[in-house]
């Protein structure tokens, strides 16, 4: 296996996808590096699975990191009440401001379920439904449904239907 060739071929795409998935470019870079390190240590059996394998591992690494971070925040919040303002209910104008800062699409993506977000973003990178299914842990036949559900939610938030879309 030519690890350098795989890195050149997939690294940029993987980082972009993971950054879109997590909203955190640094985390995306770290997860992508770790995914390539794991590829080097224990590659999948079939070469044609490498791209999907990298994206699956990268996705899991991002979710793990997010979960750890979330757990730490919860633990700290229980020990130090009020440590995070984010734990308090947000006012509508806070939400609006947050969306403005992060970007409306980013904010809307953050509200999707993990599988919906992964599926939609992997599709944007040109993955097949079969590859998406392997990465998010579902059947190929369900990917269309997951995508449709995600689009239904986004359509409301981002005005994806009609001429005034966006």
């Amino acid at each position: 296996m030519d690890a350098a060739a795989y890195f050149r071929a997939h690294h940029e795409m993987l980082v972009r996808y993971l950054a879109r998935l997590s909203g955190d470019h640094e985390l995306a870079e770290d997860a992508a590096q770790e995914a390539f390190a794991r590829l080097h240590r224990s590659p999948p059996r079939h070469q044609d699975e490498i791209r999907g394998w990298l994206f699956r591992v990268g996705t899991n690494l991002v979710w793990d990191a997010k979960r750890r971070s979330s757990t730490r925040r919860r633990l700290l919040a229980t020990r130090v009440p009020g440590a995070f303002l984010g734990d308090q209910p947000r006012r509508p104008d806070d939400e609006a401001h947050s969306a403005e800062v992060r970007g409306h699409v980013r904010a809307a993506l953050d509200r999707l379920h993990a599988k919906e977000r992964s599926a939609l973003l992997m599709r944007e990178e040109g993955f097949s439904h079969r590859e998406i299914a392997q990465a998010v842990g579902t059947t190929t036949g369900s990917v269309g449904t997951i995508l449709a559900r995600a689009l239904e939610k986004l359509a409301r938030e981002l005005s994806l239907d009609g001429e005034d879309a966006g």
């Binding site: 599709r123 944007e124 036949g141 269309g144 449904t145 689009l151 239904e152 994806l160």
Partner: protein, 218 residues
Amino acid sequence: MTHIDDGQLIALIDGALPGEDTRIAEVHLDRCAVCRAARDRLAGRLERFGALLRAEEGRVESKRRWAFTHDRRAVLAAGIALTIAVATTAPVRAWLVDGWSEPKTGTVPDPVSESVSTLRFPSERSLVVSFGQRQASGHLTIESTSGGMIEWISTDSTVELVLVDGRLEVENNHGTRGDYALRVPASHVDLAVFVEGTEVWSSSTGALASARIPVGHR
């Protein structure tokens, strides 16, 4: 008539339906305006979502670059302001301005001698030159106008001496600190000390047992 659900329509758009299912779906679409509208609506959503995502990323990246550039400018401006502020404080100014100018004023600063006027060049005498507390690097000239030998007795090998036409040039190339003794025979009654080309002491202006000469504060 049973319509095609959105999941299958997306699979059809993406070419992910198995061959037979694709054929059945296309036959249905030919006859069903509702499903055609649904397919077009979903295709439009997919296209617009991708376009919005890329457009927003472009804007965010552009903002990030703008912020990065302005951050750098802000850091640069703060650095300049801090440098000016520090440079204009009295001790630093003294170090920068007075420190530099001391050797050029023609005076012997910070004398360590208890006597500057009573010494009359005995048969052998010493001039102590200190390079001060700072790492000094510079050029000291001891000039004898009456000729004869001048013997350098410092044991410090880092100080280079060159005797040229009666001029003893001391170059402290290594920034060595310490005191150095210069033994001058009695015949050398006319002696001058130059630092950086400026006469800072002369036997005609007063005897000097020893002096601390900041050689080349630069």
